[in-house]
Structure formats: C-alpha cells, structure tokens
C-alpha cells in the first residue's frame, strides 16, 4: 500500500533523513520508532504530503505522494504531533471545516462528524469551544479531524503525548476499531508499550536512517537471546556470585539476585540448585522476555526517550 524508498531530506546543512526505506501493507498498524531527532517527523511529513523530499519516492497505492498531489492526499488522514485545531470554535465547527477541505458537504458531512465524535467519545461536548476541553479530549478531537473523509491510511505522529490514562485508552480503543475496519495505521511514538499493544510491524529510525524493520516478534529476536531472571531470596541471606555456576552475568541488590540466562530449561535449574546447596531460601523467581526498549537500546546505544 505505502512504499517509502530511499527518502532523503536536509534543512540547510542539517541532514534530517539520510535514507528511509520501508513498506506498509494494508490493514496493519505500522510503528515508526526513534528518539527525538531521528527523522521520524520529517519522514511522516513527506508521506503526508506536507513536505517534499530531496530524494527518493513515496508512493501510495502506486501514486507518487508530493505536496502537490491531491489524489493521494485524499486517501491520507494526518494527525499531527501538535494539537492542530482552532481552539476558539467548537468541535463541530472544527470538524465541519476540516471535512470541507476534503469536499464533504451537507448531510454526508454531518453524518461523518457525528460518527467521528462518537468514535472518539466526544459527542456530548461537541458544541463547546475546544478551549474548554482537557488535553486528552483535544488529542481525541485531533484524531477525529483526520478521520472525516474516511482515509485508507491514517498517519498518527505521537498522538498520545501528554494525555491522561483514560484518554490514552480511549485513543487506543478508537485505533483498534479503525484497524478492525481494515484501515492502515502508521504510528510514531516514544512509548514502547504503545507499539507492543498496537503494532504488527515496526521500523526503527536513528540518525535519519531506518536501522531495523521487521514484525514486532522479529524485531525482538534481533536482541541476543537472553532472559532476565530475578530471584528473590530470604532477607539477610548473603550470596557470593562467584560461587554460582555458569558464566552468566549476575547482579545482587538488596535481597534480589538478577542474572541473564540464555536457555531457561538448561541453566535455570542449575542456578536454583546452587542456591539451594548454599542453604539460601528462595522466595520467588521471575523471568522477563526481551523488551522493545532493550532492543532499541541494543541497536542504537541509547534510550528511546533520549
């Protein structure tokens, strides 16, 4: 559906996007991850037709997307990172205006406004000036404004920044409904848990390039296969990691021993037996799979929120 091939963008001397290449299949939620300054927003701007690339191409259903291509723009719903709404007027007036930009008029426009307000849970306060809205409600309306013309591709640039958990859940619910209706979502965020909840496929950007692109499970497999095991022992017990088996990395904090184990079946019993032999009473054992955050750290050497 969406093909991004070799996209480049510079602002004067600053290279924002060196080389972005990825493709998005229809009907999925595609996550675009990267820290601040990675070039995500520039790529999103080029895909949404608000910015022209210096090189490379973006095609949507075979049509090239540029700032002047009206055809593909009709298939795209763009939710900017900022709350791009007119705060002085009501939600209905905002939606009426944004709908008219896509040629919606009359009863059809009214119906679409009603549907989008309902989807985002804002129907009961639709006539109020949005300056009265909470940040979360404004974020929801920001999304609603991009859905009026029933786009095939919905681009969401960090749509949950600064929202309360209730509004975040409402946004996720709305996005899941859209995906269930076959819409394609391109989603950028800082929050790994959002990607893990929503996305089926992920591209990781850093320093203007896509450094990894895979399914969510595939991305996680890029990390050397280890499992983090946390073993909580009885208070007062003292364990010298040198006495424990294997060449695992052990850390000891308070009454918890943490170690990285490659094969749980093979190595974990050996560790537990060694602790038992030392007379240490084990209170709990927890294991954790590699997280996307760890993958990101492994690939880029920095945290997503850097």
């Amino acid at each position: 559906m969406l093909e991004v091939v070799g996209v480049k963008k510079s602002y004067g001397e600053t290279v924002a996007v060196k080389n972005a290449t990825f493709s998005v299949e229809p009907g999925i939620c595609y996550g675009l991850l990267g820290p601040n300054g990675a070039g995500k927003t520039s790529v999103i701007s080029i895909i949404s037709g608000t910015l022209d690339a210096d090189g490379g191409t973006v095609t949507l259903d075979g049509e090239v997307v540029t700032t002047r291509s009206a055809g593909p723009k009709r298939k795209i719903g763009y939710v900017p990172q900022e709350i791009a709404l007119f705060s002085e007027i009501s939600a209905i007036d905002n939606l009426r205006f944004f709908g008219s930009l896509y040629g919606l008029i009359g009863q059809h426009l009214s119906n679409r406004i009603e549907a989008c307000l309902e989807l985002t849970g804002l129907s009961d306060r639709a006539k109020e000036p949005i300056s009265n809205y909470s940040g979360g409600m404004q974020r929801r309306l920001n999304i609603a404004a991009a859905l009026l013309h029933e786009p095939d591709l919905i681009i969401l640039d960090e749509p949950t920044v600064g929202v309360d958990p209730q509004s975040r859940n409402a946004i996720f619910d709305a996005l899941e409904i859209l995906r269930s209706k076959g819409k394609t979502l391109l989603y950028t965020t800082h929050y790994m848990e959002e990607v893990e909840r929503l996305c089926q496929r992920v591209a990781i950007m850093d320093h203007g390039s896509v450094i990894a692109e895979h399914s969510l499970a595939g991305i996680k497999r890029m990390l050397p296969q280890t499992n983090e095991v946390q073993i909580e022992v009885e208070s007062g017990a003292v364990v010298d990691p040198a006495t424990l088996p294997g060449s695992f990395s052990y850390t000891w904090m308070d009454s918890t021993l943490t170690c990285e184990i490659t094969d749980l079946n093979r190595d974990l019993p050996a560790v537990l037996n060694a602790l038992n032999d030392l007379g240490v009473r084990i209170l709990s054992v927890r294991t954790r799979e590699s997280s996307l955050e760890q993958v990101f750290l492994h690939l880029t050497g920095r945290s997503l929120r850097d």
């Binding site: 602002y11 600053t14 924002a16 701007s45 949404s48 037709g49 608000t50 910015l51 700032t67 009206a70 055809g71 723009k73 009709r74 795209i76 763009y78 900017p80 990172q81 900022e82 709350i83 791009a84 709404l85 007119f86 002085e88 007027i89 007036d93 009426r96 205006f97 944004f98 008219s100 930009l101 896509y102 040629g103 008029i105 000036p129 404004a145």
Partner: protein, 387 residues
C-alpha cells in the same frame, strides 16, 4: 466555491469568537481618529475649536496693524496678545506661545506700495516655537490670509471690500478644491489616516494569528489536505478583507456621526469611496499575508512589521496632511500604499474630486495587493523552520 466559503466562514467565526479582539480592532482607530481630529481643533459641535495662543508685536503702530489685530481677534481662531518683541521672544522660547508675529515699523506703507507698484515687499517676521511647528504652520496660513484681507482693504478701500470676508479677488489655490465644509476636512483626514493605520496594525495581528497557527501545526494539517496554497491564501485574504471593510465602515460611520463630515454628495463620490474602501481593505489583507509569509516567528515579525507600519503611516500622510511634509517625503509617499488610500478617501470626502481620481487610487492599491499577495504565495512556509 463551497470550500472557499468554508475557509472564509471559519476565519470569521474565529474572529467573532474573540470579542475583546473585535472591540480593540474596531475601537482603536476610532479613538485615535477622534483624538487626532480633536487635536486639530476641529472637533465638530461638541467643544468648539481650540484657540492658538500667539503674540502680536506692533512696531508699525499704523491703522493697518490696529485693523489686523482687531480682525485676528474677531476670527475666534487665536488667543492673541500684544506685547514687545523681547517679551514675545521670551514667551515663544519658553513654549508659552506657538508663534509671535512681528510687524516692523513702516510695514503698512511698504506693503501698500508693493501691491501698487510691485516694489520690494517688506518683511513680515514670525517667531516660532520649534516644538510646535505644525500649530505654527497652520496659524501662519491663517495669519497671512487675514493680513492679505486687511491690507487689500487698506489699499483698495471700502469700495472694493464692503464686508470683511468679501474680498474683491480670490486667493487662487487656497480653498477652491474643498467642496465640503472646510472645518471638517482635518477631522476627515484624521479618520482616513487613523483608519488606515488601524487596518495595517490589525493586519499585523492577523499575521501573528497566522504564524501562531503555523506554530501549532495547523498549516501543516491544512497542507496535508488537497487544498492548494492559492485557495488557502485566497480564503484568508477574503476573510481578512471582509473584516477590514467592517472596521472601515465602523470608523468612518463614527466620523460621519461625531465630526459631521460627509462624502461629497454625488453618486460618483459614493461609488468612489466604496471602491477605495474595498481596495484599501484588500491591500491591508494582503499586507497581513505578506507579513505572515515572510515571518520566521511571531516576535521577530511583530517588531519588524510594527516598524514598517509606523514608517508607512508617517511617510504616507496618515498622521499629518502631506502638505506639511517636505517635498522629498511627498515624493516618497507615492511609493507607499497608505498615501493612496488616504488620498482616495480625502478626495471623495472633502477634496471634492471625482471617480477618475478615486480609480487612480484604487488601481494603485490593487497593484500593491497583487504584489503583497504574490510574494506571500511564493514565500509561504507551511512549517516552522527547524531550530
């Protein structure tokens, strides 16, 4: 067409929603115009004209000087006091008086001879407070006219001029262009000038709103839609021009009611006034787009554009009539849109000019509109520049 209407309607709704901003944009030019109109001492029927305090130094002690003094006192325009030249100099230096007129010994005899025999004219001396040159310049004009009236009567006698204000000849070029009541023209000019100043300042505020919208990502969102930049700017321009016309209607309406000036009562002048108002509104609207398109951010653009508007108002005759300005400024003013708007309004209200003259102003204002709009269309940036 529906899209254009929606673009315009949205802007009008936003404008109306901010009632304080509406009040400011309507009332500021009215208050300024009333104040400037009042300063010119021609505030209609409310308080009567303000008298200018001047000194009269009579070194001639002739019948002419006695008549001149009496005539000036009668005029009601001056608070005039006789005194010695030294005292007059002192009072003017202190700023107590704007002007002193010194009639040297033998002035009347010399002046009479000069009128009849074309001999060398005697000197008529003025002492002027440099901080009150405008007041002094206006007073000088009236003094010279009164002097001419009295001197003419002295020379040609009562046969030629039985009434004070019925001279046996007219002074060519002084007031023949003024069709309406002469005492309302400075107020009308003040309203024309201040309304244009108000429109341009309001255009700056509109530009700041546009830059704020860009900072908020609204332009980016609009850019992601299939609407062309031309259509977007056209919608902005039309909505701004409608608001500008409403402001002009309110400002001039107040002027007509409070200061009792009026458009010269001819159909062509009403048409001309309307066309100048439309053209001036379009020019102001496109100026706002021009500022927004060139602006990097709100703070920087506001400072530069305020400076530009103040310069245009000063050089374009919005504050003071152009005849008070040096010749080179009068020449420069031809390149300033505000002067064409003010001249257009003046022409239709009190100069008694015709539709052809109004169309000349309209044409020039529309050229400025196209220049500002064209630059805005070419230079508009949809996203804030990256830091």
């Amino acid at each position: 067409m529906n899209l254009l209407w929606e673009l315009v309607r949205k802007d009008l709704r936003i404008y109306i929603a901010d009632r304080r901003s509406v009040m400011i944009s309507f009332l500021t030019p009215v208050l300024l115009a009333c104040f400037v109109g009042y300063l010119f001492g021609l505030g209609g029927k409310t308080d009567g004209p303000k008298k200018v305090s001047i000194a009269f130094v009579d070194q001639d002690h002739s019948t002419f000087t006695k008549d001149l003094l009496a005539k000036m006192k009668e005029s009601g325009s001056f608070d005039i006091e006789s005194m010695t030249e030294d005292k007059a100099k002192h009072k003017v230096s202190k700023g107590d008086l704007a002007l002193a007129i010194v009639v040297p010994e033998g002035f009347a005899a010399h002046a009479s001879r000069a009128m009849l025999e074309h001999s060398t004219a005697p000197e008529f001396k003025f002492l002027i407070d440099p901080s009150r040159t405008i007041e002094a310049s206006l007073s000088k004009g009236a003094l010279i006219r009164t002097t001419m009236q009295v001197l003419t009567r002295e020379v040609f006698g009562s046969v030629s001029a039985t009434e004070d204000n019925q001279l046996p000849f007219k002074i060519v070029g002084e007031s023949q262009a003024v069709q309406a009541e002469t005492n309302s023209s400075p107020a009308a000019h003040a309203f024309a000038g201040m309304s244009m100043q108000g429109l341009l300042f309001w255009a700056i505020e509109s530009a700041m709103t546009l830059l704020r919208e860009r900072r908020m990502g609204l332009w980016k969102r609009l850019r992601s839609s299939p609407v062309s930049p031309f259509m977007f700017l056209l919608g902005k321009g039309i909505s701004s021009a409608i608001r500008a016309m409403a402001i002009l209607a309110f400002v001039f309406g107040t002027g007509f009611l409070v200061f009792h000036f009026q458009i010269t009562p001819r159909v062509e002048n009403y048409v001309g006034f309307g066309l100048v108002a439309i053209a001036a509104s379009l020019m102001a609207a496109s100026f706002g787009l021009f500022v927004a398109a060139l602006g990097r951010n709100e703070q920087q653009s506001r400072g530069l554009s305020i400076l530009a508007v103040l310069g245009m108002c000063m050089l374009g005759g919005a504050w003071f009539p152009m005849f008070l300005m040096p010749q080179f400024i009068q020449t420069i003013s031809k390149a300033i849109p505000i002067s064409w708007a003010v001249n257009g309004f003046d022409g239709m209200i009190w100069r008694g000019l015709g539709l052809t003259d109004a169309l000349q102003s309209v044409g020039v204002l529309l050229i400025f509109t196209m220049i500002f709009g064209g630059i805005a269309l070419k230079r508009i940036r949809w996203e804030p520049e990256p830091a």
